[in-house]
Amino acid sequence: MHRRVVGTLSDDGSNRMNKQIKDWINKLMPLAALILVYLTFAIIAPPSFISLKNLELIVRQTTIVGIASLGMTLVIIGGGIDLSVGSIVALVTVAIAWLLMAGCSPLVAAFGGVLTGLLCGFINGALITRLKLVPFIITLGTLLVYRGCAKGLAHEQKIDAPLSWINELLAALKPEQGWMLVPGGVWLLVLLAICVALVLRYTRFGLYTFSIGSNEQASRLCGVPIEKVKLLIYSISGLFAGFAGLMQFSRLTVGDPTVASGLELDVIAAVVIGGGSLAGGEGSVLGTILGALIMTVIRSGCTQMGLSNWVQEIVTGIIIVVAVVLDRMRHSQKTQG
């Protein structure tokens, strides 16, 4: 049912206060959900669940999905979708392993891997803006293309690579590294998250991203350079998938062309749980990160309780649907004033 207040509202103080409080409640919803899920497992799961070590593990396990979902946040706010991120991650791990085997230094290999991601994203963006096809179709195509490239480059098997500092990015900290609190990869996630949040709020590009997602025609009318903005959005998504691939490689220590299959769905789920709307124009970095954490907490809790993978999948699936239903409900409240 579609209810909207027709007419204008007076600017009385209490109304505004209420609105501000409501806005805050809306923003804190994903946080409340995260706390709720965490507390639930804290009660029903074995005590090891609340240990610091497990907390650190949760944070580390969130990193890959978290980084990729930052790019996806931009894509979804802009009214698009990127189904190719899982394949890009796999291609990046293969590229890094291949470069290491070819004798490159770890820095060059890492750089090359991330650039591969950026290139993939750029190709997505270029195809979407040049061919004027919906992103779902283009990225569904490139999902297969990039996966195929990864398999071809790796001759359909894992590429072993020598250990290097890359593998420490997402490994548990050694005792003498205690000052870092969490591994470098997690810090990278935090840093990138802050960057994206700032870009969304304090740049023209951020404003354009929201406006294109809300109404592309209106943005075109306003002279927003839609093609350029979209190209940038998908390139950034690819770049972040590149960083996610670097983290994936760090965890695997090998280049695996079959890894991260279906990762794009987790990434999209994180954005959606965090309040992103697939219709575009809505979403936030904080929400996305919380969404990614919620999914890891569920996984971790289920593992600690010795529940099988299928239970985790059912629980995660339910959470996604519930999150979107709640989001819809709070939206209809919002439009009712």
Binding site: M1, R3, R4, N18, N215, L221, V224, G337
Partner: protein, 498 residues
């Protein structure tokens, strides 16, 4: 009030949270009567219609239909009881055929092995044919709705209502986007329905049309019924005074404009679709009106000038620039546009007032390359105040505002950008009289301050009231602009339909 009423509403009140949308509405309609419901945007007409169609449930008050209590909980129930709503923005599924649309939601079926989920297409075909014939029109039943004109779609909606035996029809602004001939066709149809004893509630901004078709009128203001009466016993001025709560003296403020150099020049411009030829010169300080019926190519003209549609041949010259340019380039050449389609193209309705306002010119809110949200809000607040836009805060989503206030922001975007040439496509469509007056005033101010305005409209009185010259678009061809003194309503209309 001793005559028999079909539908009667008493003291209807609707609140949304802390907002009172309807505050005691009295309304009735008798069989065989056409009642016009008028009021400014935001007066509560749409909410009242939603109450009648079951989309909103009132907090207080009572409704009776044919003497029985009536309190629909959803649109299906209202339809079942015989009330059909035909919205301004038609809501037919565009890729279904006319026949499927007429029966959508109440398909006829044949029983087969005790179940009834097999469609009886033959029966529906003949019933649809009868329904359309009853309305005196023939539309091939297998046409897809998206291929129909808006007025034909309206017919399908009405046929759809008649096919289930709805006897109370609510038409929301049915004439706002159809041509003059189609309006007459619709009115004939309404008179037929009335003669058959149906009740029609007619919502419109066009008082001329109300006077032509309605028996009675009811005026809403601020959610209340403020008056009503028989058509013919009340003057137009009195009705307008009831609507706005004040006497609207001069709707069209017109000062003497000083013309300067040519800012926009078109030389036999031909577009891709409807536009076949257009030439004119628009000078500084001038308001040039383009009149044309829907589908005549007037919107195509504006879109081609602004770079939204491509150009086949001919030339657009803006100042020293000539040739095609993208909308982005057009803005930087000092030209801005307000679209006729507020929701679809004019505004990003899920974003805030402030963002919509500065979207074409976010550079104005930047300090050394960094976009400043607080500067954006400050800018927006100035404009909100200047144009007296009614809103809670400029951080409010623009979709929550009434049409008139949305339109003020759409225009404010151009003012804020400081463009020299303004292309306004139907700038007052679907907005209330008060906002209209303000927009006319703005247009006049702009011309006085040396801007050039190109205004497209299908409402002739406003063009005659605001423009210096008027050109007529007829089947893609634009006539030579003529000075307003040489024109009359009659002559312009003749040219448009010739």
């Amino acid at each position: 009030m001793n005559e028999k009423k079909r539908l009667q509403l008493d003291n209807i009140k609707v609140r949304f949270g802390g907002t009172v949308a309807l505050d005691g509405v009295e309304f009735s309609v008798a069989p065989g009567e056409i009642v016009a419901l008028i009021g400014e945007n935001g007066a509560g007409k749409s909410t009242l219609m939603k109450v009648l169609s079951g989309a909103v449930i009132p907090n207080e008050g009572s409704m009776t239909l044919d003497g029985k209590p009536f309190s629909p909980r959803n649109p299906e129930e209202a339809r079942h009881r015989g009330i059909a709503m035909i919205y301004q923005e038609l809501s037919l599924p565009a890729t279904l055929t006319v026949q499927d649309n007429i029966f959508l939601g109440m398909e006829l079926s044949k029983s087969c092995f005790g179940s009834n989920w097999i469609l009886d297409r033959a029966k529906m075909h003949s019933a649809a044919e009868t329904a359309l014939k009853e309305l005196g029109h023939e539309i091939p039943l297998n046409t897809l709705v998206r291929d129909l004109s808006i007025s034909d779609q309206q017919l399908v909606e009405i046929a759809r209502a008649r096919a289930v035996g709805c006897e109370v029809l609510i038409l929301d602004e049915p004439t706002s986007s159809i041509t003059r001939q189609d309006v007459q066709r619709l009115f004939t149809l309404m008179r037929n329905l009335k003669a058959q004893g149906h009740s029609i509630i007619y919502i419109s901004h066009f008082l001329e049309e109300v006077e032509e078709i309605a028996d009675r009128f009811v005026v809403l203001r601020d959610g209340k019924t403020v008056g009503g009466g028989k058509i013919g016993e009340t003057t137009r001025d009195e009705i307008v005074a009831l609507m706005v709560g004040r006497q609207l003296t001069d709707l069209y403020p017109k000062s003497k404009h000083q013309f300067g150099e040519t800012l926009l020049e078109l030389t036999s411009l031909v577009g891709e679709a409807r536009l076949r030829s257009a030439s004119f010169q628009l000078r500084r300080g001038e308001v040039l009106g383009i009149f044309g019926l829907v589908g005549s190519g007037r919107t195509d003209l504006i879109r081609s000038i602004f770079g939204l549609d491509s150009i086949k041949s001919g030339e657009v010259k803006i100042g020293t620039y000539s040739g095609y340019a993208t909308p982005t380039r057009r803005w930087s050449q000092g030209i801005g546009m307000v679209s006729e389609d507020r929701k679809g193209e004019g505004l990003a309705t899920t974003r805030t007032i402030a963002e919509n306002l500065v979207l074409s010119y976010p550079q104005s809110c930047e300090t050394s390359g960094v976009f400043s949200p607080s500067k954006m809000l400050a800018t927006a607040n100035t404009w909100v105040e200047k144009l007296s836009v009614k809103c809670r805060t400029s951080e409010q989503n623009i979709g929550e505002l009434s049409g008139g206030n949305q339109q003020k922001i759409a225009l404010a975007r151009l003012l804020h950008h400081g463009v020299d040439v303004l292309l306004l496509d139907e700038p007052t469509r679907g907005i209330d009289v008060g906002s209209k007056k303000q927009i006319y005033e703005q247009i006049d101010n702009l011309a006085c301050s040396g801007k050039a305005v190109l205004m497209v409209s299908s409402y002739l009185p406003e063009l005659l009231g605001t423009c210096d010259r008027i050109a007529v678009m007829n089947r893609g061809k634009l006539s030579e602009p003529k000075c307003i003194e040489e024109l009359s309503e009659h002559s312009v209309m003749m040219e448009a339909i010739a």
